[in-house]
Amino acid sequence: MAAIGERRITYDARGLAEPHAEAPRIAEIDGTTARFDAADLTIRTINLELRRLVYEEGVTDVVIDNPASRHSLGVGILTRCSITFNGSLGYFACGLIDGPEVHITGRVGWSACENMMSGVVVVDSNAGSLTGAAMRGGDLVVKGRVGARTGIDQKGGTIIVLGSAGSMTGFMMQRGRMIICGDVGPGLGDSMYDGDIYVAGAIKSLGIDCVPGEWTDADTELIERKFSNHGLGSPPAFQKFVCGKALYNYDSLEPAERKLVI
């Protein structure tokens, strides 16, 4: 019989029941490379082991086997390193990262790379909705299809999707670039403030204040550079979409701000 306060917890998706968890120290380290099997670990201990390797052991190249679609893996890594997930990840994969180059050989769930600051994430299969939400920098490449609201509130960086995208792609986008090689759903770029969206496939409908943009040499250069950087072959022909700047008042200041300027 467990004493009061020691109730056995059999289920812990969010890792909150392990406030005193420590890195399991199971990775095989070989110089600056390391590899470990996550099959029998919890979300929290997988992340602790990953952090131990890149922050304490000086490892720059980590391979993680059997992530098994679990949520919140690889989040908040703020150093330059290379991480490979052999398999699929769940929701919130690689959120808030600043620096790592991540390769995911399976798919990711909703909100992958949320608020990513810099680095590269390559997903070999599909992604869920809200991919690259509020992303600020770096490159996010999804080789399959993505769900709805990709790049919602995007503030920088580049999202490249080789497959199709769902509804409201680029919703309230504020800066950065989105390159979609397949078809997109209704409401593309709805209520966007700024940024560029490139689409190669069919578009179901444009959102409010999203208009075709003028193609320049800089656009050609950007797309060719991104495709060659990530080894994606030769790019298809794209249409460009930008903000019509008719929905918001960009030039007028709030009354309080106007006083300060004068």
Partner: protein, 311 residues
Amino acid sequence: MCGIAGIIYRDGSTHPIGDEMTRMLQSMKHRGPDSTGYALYGAPENGNLVMRYKLADANTARDFEYEDRLRRHRFEVESRLATLGATLHEVEEETPYAFRVTFGFDGELQLLADLVEDIPDAEVLSLGRSLEIVKDLGDAESVHETYGLHSFAGTHAIGHVRMATESEVDIAGAHPYWAYPYSDVAVVHNGQLTNYFYWRRRLERAGRRFMSECDSKIIAVYLAKEMSEGLSLEEAMHKSLDELDGVFTYIAVTKDELGVAKDELAAKPLVLYESDDLVALASEEIAIRQLLGHEIETYDPYEREVLVWQR
């Protein structure tokens, strides 16, 4: 938030779906710890009907008369069934307040359900030849244990873990919902319907009754009504995209079909896995991974998609 899941074996083969659905739902416990429910399709027993009903909740106040009242109400249910001409075969007491009854009956199901639910606190959870709905408070493992679902074999199933947003945490508020008064139709839903009262009034005027305040019940009754007027499940689900407002991903099942529909915003998640013999779908891929131990190829359907599979 809520989590939903479904499995259907396309070749119609029988599998331990009680265990499989439990593993799927338990892995999504974080989406809804309040209550858990199953709609399971077993093999029909010689044309008999199976009714699951409850007379109280796990959290009903246990007053001095509680046990006596349960005994009287249970006797009343059985005597009303007999009065209607049903031949009772078996009555199983799953918990002191939830029962499974098998019986032969040729009459009208609506009248039978109405007579049972006329008894105070009684609710028919499911009525059909192969459908059985099991739902109660707690996580999947505790419901599985209480109701002995490890022995349940069948061809298809849906399940739901609930985080209550707009109605009580009790069995009446838990999913799946049976499509009163049509046999063998059930629905699980993740989302909120905003024209609930409009549809509730319309359906009540058409003679349907609602034992629950939960908006999701509307979907089951709506689909069954459309199907009784000649539409296929797929046609009825397409029609629902225009007639139901709000955000939803719902899974509907009949005795040999399983379908899923998403609203026009694709606001609620769904991950889909299809193979030649099995279709599995859930709010999160981690639930599907409980059935298949290896890496799988899955995708998220888009807005306004309706997909239906046969067993």
